[in-house]
Amino acid sequence: MTGSELKWRIAGGSGDGIDSTSQNFAKALMRAGLDVFTHRHYPSRIRGGHTYVEVRAQPDDVRSRGDGFDFLLSLGDSFARNPDDEAYYGEEELKPLYEHFDDLNEGGVIVYDSGLIDDEAVEEINLYERAEENNWHVYPVDLRGLAREHGREVMRNTAGVGVSAALLGVDTSYFEELMQEVMGGDIAEANIETLNAAYEQAAEFDHTHDLEVPKGDHDSEQALVTGSDGIAYAALDSGCRFISGYPMTPWTDVFTIMSQNLPHFGGIAEQVEDEIAAASLAIGASHTGVKAMSGSSGGGFALMSEPLGLAEMTETPVVLIEAMRAGPSTGMPTKPEQADLEHVLYTSQGDSCRVVFAPGNPQEAYEQTRKAFEYAYDYHIPAIVLYDQKLGGEMRSVPAEFFDREPDSDPGAVLTEDELSEAAHDAAGKFKRYSHDGEDGVVPRSVPGQEGGRFLATGNESQEVGHISEDPDNRKHQMDRRMEKLTSIREDLNAGDDSNQAFHGPADADYGILVWGSQQDTVFEAVDRLNARGSSVKALGVSDMMPYPESEVTAFLESVEECLVVEMNATAQFRGLTQKELGRFGPKMTSLLKYDGEPFEPSEIVEGFEATVEETDLPGGNMELRPAAGD
């Protein structure tokens, strides 16, 4: 246990204020100069039910939640006992304590609310026995009592923060500042009082542990953001001023951020009757000249399948967001998974013609969402940002200046009325919006209300002004023109100097790891550890799902002897995509899969790598190794 990092966890019932408390805790450490990262775990349930958030802090570059954790603040589940006689939850109240035993590192610290959890209960779960075995340091504190005395009962969490601060050596001024900013007034006062009382009480304890908060210093001011923030903010900066949606976890976060901010940004947010309508409205608004988006998760995105195809065929720009959670069907709605890749790539009848990006962290989420808007509007194509519950919900500190960007009001490939008057029309004066000779597949469009721009948009195959056509030659032209966009977008992406693919590790390493989306940075952390221990490994985090980055991945795969492909699903979808796109390398690739609702920890990647390359056994857990194809 060193001072180089801290992994603090707060656990309680849904409704016990775990989210806000952990957010403040993370922000305080960030303001204190540390890089922070949070991991949220919650059940699909509104009140009660065990939930926790972990905050990891390091002087710099924190890339994942890490392995295990060091400090548990257990509030118990105060909603576990339901007053209604129809429900009684056995020992659920203790879950926020005993469910954490498996992950708590040796030498770790436990603080629990002895106001809620009595000695008998503690005995039942053998707390002290376990503590002795693992060299844990246990501090029972009557957080409820403290809260009642100095504030209100719900401020148990604040009392817990005070105790944590005392035991870890964090300056409480950061918390006080935050409470004043976030709550204000009497509530802030009461919280601050509780905080300090708890701090003082714990400062008196006999400290048996040697855990403390590391010291850090930032070059510039930091902002604490999630992947959802990255996506929503990129949309706003892209000039998106219309969103239509329907709530669904975890997509709701992006939808909510947009809905709350669009009115102030002069835009419109619509919550509608279902996701078919949601996608259709976005298409309608975009067709009418506005930059628009929609999105969903799981079954909600499935309902967008038909409108998505309509956007492809009518060449209506639209950005859709898909936030993955564990499937199939309702699955595990609050757990991450990466199993919607193929669904998002291929759903809707006919050949797919869409852009799909899968960012790996909040910054990539911002960058790639901006690109999604650019390509959607420049190429008249649906662009999808695919991420998951992990990336969407975890918070990270990012230099605030990262967001110092210019907004983009450009509506893309649209003609002005002047340009329209010069453009090609048919004999009846209809604009050839689907002219056969687009550049890079694109024909700049007109917008309803423009003089000289009228045309028909249709989901049927159509000729140049949009009238339905079943002529085989026209069909071939139009299909080829539409598909050409993907080739052109691939060329654009390759030409830019900011590839969406992220490379990590020594360029000449012998072994490779391919990864995508939210698992990327965890793999990067594992790569560092592996190289530190003498392995020769590098990783490529792929974000371009369609059009696929053939040359980059080919070069990577050619340069390694063997490659592990890490993803959170059961059928190795990204490996499959890679094999499909490249038609070879199957024998070089082994999949490391996990689909139990828990993301990989860096140590698991290390173990998976060892099992593959060094042919050790996979040490238990819920991972799955899928051997190389063609073996």
Partner: protein, 310 residues
């Protein structure tokens, strides 16, 4: 100067302006009632001083859905049942457009009925024309939600066991603020009603009886029609009286009596755009214009939102 000069100009247009050139010619069957909708719409637009390029006509899929192919304007021939959500968004994005949605009875009262209900409830300022031929035309004559009970078709060989939907009653229950029924056999009334519906500031729903001689009904089955304004004494601004009149018209249709006319009109109900602007959740100026107006600086996230993350 606006980027959309077709909007809000005074226009001198005529029927021909709304007619495409030689191609495409309507492919509807001889005697199809759909021709009458096209004609009435073409007649109503110049009457109201509209020009083709300020009209956004969104249609579904069906024989009816082909209306946008044969009517000259900005057109969107969408997918089955989804004309309304697309149309709705067009109106929100650019309220200056004259938005008309149209589709069949299957399209609007079957697969798309949820959007119908919710669009009516929200009272979007637009016109929705349902070609009610009591049949699925384009897919070759299957039972539709308005087909009479007992109606035999390839998919219900012994006759439909379902009571037909009551489109007017449903429209009223949902919240449409203008509701009328007209028929292809009554072209004068049809054109007037379409014009009125377009002028109405709110969701105007027209159930348009369009015979389908190929699979279902002949024009003669929609005559004689009775104009409810002439033959019945009821107040179309009174919800209750309107409801009774609708119920009767819906029932009589299947007994061979065709009641048409204006059934309901609520004048003072604000449209969705008005409601939404009044809550502050919709900009006063047309949203679409922002993108084409060089002076409009777009808001920056860095200026407004990053502070709270620090």
């Amino acid at each position: 100067m606006t980027a959309f000069s077709a909007i809000h100009e005074e226009h001198e247009s005529d029927k021909e302006d709304f007619t495409p050139g030689v191609e495409p010619q309507p492919t509807w069957c001889p005697g199809c009632g759909d021709f009458a909708v096209l004609k009435a719409l073409k007649g109503a637009m110049p009457e109201l001083g509209r020009s083709p390029e300020e009209v956004m006509l969104v249609t579904g899929i069906g024989c009816s859905g082909k209306l946008s192919s044969y009517f000259e304007s900005y057109g969107y021939h969408s997918i089955h049942g989804r004309a309304l959500p697309i149309a709705r968004a067009s109106k929100l994005a650019n309220p200056g457009l004259e938005v008309v949605a149209a589709g069949g009875d299957g399209d609007g009262y079957g697969i798309g009925a949820n959007h119908f209900m919710h669009t009516a409830r929200e009272n979007h300022d637009m016109t929705y024309i349902v070609f009610n031929n009591e049949i699925f035309g384009l897919t070759k004559g299957q039972t539709s939600p308005t087909s009479p009970k007992g109606h035999k078709s390839k998919t219900q060989p012994s006759g439909s066991a379902k009571d037909p939907v009551r489109p007017l009653t449903l429209s009223l229950a949902s919240g449409a603020s203008y509701i009328a029924r007209t028929a292809a056999t009554n072209p004068r009334q049809a054109q007037q009603i379409i014009a009125e519906a377009i002028e109405h500031d709110g969701f105007a729903h027209i159930d348009f009886l369009t015979q389908c001689p190929t699979w279902n009904k002949d024009a003669k089955e929609y005559v004689p029609y009775t104009d409810v304004q002439e033959e019945y004494d009821f107040d179309k601004t009174d919800r209750r009286e309107a409801a009774d009149m609708m119920y009767e018209a819906e029932t009589k249709l299947y007994e061979g009596e065709v009641l048409t006319g204006r059934f309901f009109r609520e004048e003072n109900r604000p449209s969705y755009g008005q409601e939404k602007r009044s809550t502050g959740e919709m900009p006063e100026d047309p949203l679409a214009e922002r993108y084409y107006d060089d002076d409009d600086g777009f808001e920056r996230v860095a200026d407004h939102l990053i502070e709270r993350h620090k």
